[in-house]
Chain length 437, copies 2
Amino acid sequence: MTAVMANQKIKIGLVGFGTVGVGVCKILQEQATLLANRSGAEFEVVKVAMRDTTKKRDIELPAGAATTDWQEVVNHPEVELVIELMGGTGIAFDVVSAALKAGKPVITGNKALLAERGEEVFALSAENNTPIYFEASVAGGIPIIKTIREAFVGNNVANLAGIINGTCNYILERMTEAGLSYDVALKEAMDLGYAEADPTLDINGWDAGHKAILLGAMSYGFLPAPQDTYVTGIENVKLEDITLADKLGYAIKLISVVKPASEQTVEIRTQASFVPKSHLLAKVDGVFNAVALSGDAVGDSFIYGRGAGEGPTATAVVADLIDAVKNLGTANKGFLPYDTSYSVAPIDDTETAYFISIDVQDEPGVMAKITSLFSDRGISFSGTHSHLDPNAPDAAMNHVSFITHVAKYGVLKAALADLADLDCVTSEPTLYRVESF
Amino acid sequence: MTAVMANQKIKIGLVGFGTVGVGVCKILQEQATLLANRSGAEFEVVKVAMRDTTKKRDIELPAGAATTDWQEVVNHPEVELVIELMGGTGIAFDVVSAALKAGKPVITGNKALLAERGEEVFALSAENNTPIYFEASVAGGIPIIKTIREAFVGNNVANLAGIINGTCNYILERMTEAGLSYDVALKEAMDLGYAEADPTLDINGWDAGHKAILLGAMSYGFLPAPQDTYVTGIENVKLEDITLADKLGYAIKLISVVKPASEQTVEIRTQASFVPKSHLLAKVDGVFNAVALSGDAVGDSFIYGRGAGEGPTATAVVADLIDAVKNLGTANKGFLPYDTSYSVAPIDDTETAYFISIDVQDEPGVMAKITSLFSDRGISFSGTHSHLDPNAPDAAMNHVSFITHVAKYGVLKAALADLADLDCVTSEPTLYRVESF
């Protein structure tokens, strides 16, 4: 390859030197010619902050680049751009603040920081006229932020539904394909390194929940308050739920939905949902991520790729780095919130179809009592299922499940509360949303 | 919505006012606030060239904007950016040349112009220091150019396979799903407006072939010579081929492949191929497009969306328009070829598995003759199929098909030529590549 465009030498600093940080340095070294050819930029990693400078890593840094003090990176007089890959909302906030105040554009993969403290961070970005880039914070190998903000810049987002946590998707897939229990599948994911040592934020849904907040911000220009969004995880998904879903033509996936609920409210919710097996989202396997996105002009689109790991996330960081370099010295400010008139829709106002499953006593009138309880609240059923053994047609029916037509979540919850009061109902109901796209 | 960033008023000219041109003007009008919020730019369409200014269109232009003379658009003193949507390689070349020479950045959806005359166009872009943008030229609603060049900027493309002609995909799908003959499916596509009045470039593969050339350019930085690429269409796909493929677990799709063949050669080919039904590309229905792309760092990705039509293509034009505005007055030059050391690999050197089907005489030794002919050339089979009627096990076997292991196309062609010389072979062989991704 022959470099023909290189003309700009950029000095960068890096805070956080785990898997992704190492991946970024590898791409900058190994793809230096490609990057120069495509963008005209050459990079030098001047300073890298890490917890332990003596740890063996799969890469060579320039002599003197390693430090344990992030301030040495941000305050280094030659560092023009700061990459923050340490994670968390504490020290990472200090790093990002200091860089923005110093007028050094920031590239980060820190979804928690931006989702939890976005108001402060973007205010600093605006005040200091210094952009912050964060493609790596949502679904590493899927350029969803660039797609919403740039490729579909002239589109309102009509509907967005994503599988944006690979750990949960892996666990649910292993339960589905191999019939593993939740606990066994989770342990397998941890053994394989697909889940963190503390997988709490993955399995309780908040890793995806943070990403959904950022996708809401990209799509509608406001900063959704985390406490206004709805997030549940996969801890309560049972193998029997998956088996029954499969029989009915659905896969259970941890789905994050972002879409308009009313003129000025946006639905932002993450939960394990029923997805029709015919939809592309149902075919997303293993640790892969995917986003189904409809724009009002572009129509339906779907993007699939690896959501995490060294190469995919480093790819996103390097893409932001090149954009940051292109925007140096220009009027381009990166993302700043532009529409404060939006808010998150109350979860009770959101509407889908639902799957409901309960244990019942087999006695005359059970089905009539249950169905009239729902119909009294205007909820009707599109299907019902109970196990029937052709060899024992007279066996007791002690478990029944329904799929409802579309109804408001608040109304559905009220019906479920009534249901629990029926004597003939002998279990807590199992509830899943049935998504349509 | 409240516009907070608008600060730049851009005057544009448009040459070609068909479906896409109207769509662009609609987005600029209807999404003016969104575009201003996201990019800081406001647009005014100053001059629009069209064949017939009296034709009723679904949009209002400013008084005096319409003209039949493209020079009035390009030479208009206020026009800063020129959008070319007329198509073709003749006058469109004059339009693009004149704009670039006048230092006015160009946005185009003209794949034929760039694939056939890219060398001239990009030389003009370089000489005049004026960028040309062309996201709309490949798979309108799929931001594949932005994805390769920006999102995956630090990645070498390891493999790219796309369905990038919606007309062909629609015809093949209707043959598959409804059992239509090729002629009936083509007529249906034309009646529905999915195929042009003259569908030649769709069905002979060259619309996809031109796009594949551009994807090769984006991926490897050189301008592939059209005559060096391999392009066949769907005219010879028979319903019986589709039926048999289906039985064997494959869909037949018009697939464009772009991937490295050797250190400095790139395989660029478009043809109807066997695609495993389990792959996402096999699930692309109707007029949709999709690209499966593997990068050396990002791994596997897949992007799906509408390939043509008013909204999707206008979405791509408007995205380019915003990028063009951001780059005004900066050093960012858009795409220019950067690596002349690449060339297109000779088609005979490319390797896949193959499906071969022939009519034979049912006589002793037929299978031995055929299979030894292939094994003499080092080609082995991974499967074979012939129709067997359990009620007539003694019926003649007069048709047989094989799937080979991976082999060079040149070697396979030589084997097929030998095959035609066998007395026991009574038809021309049917040949499809069997793709793996």
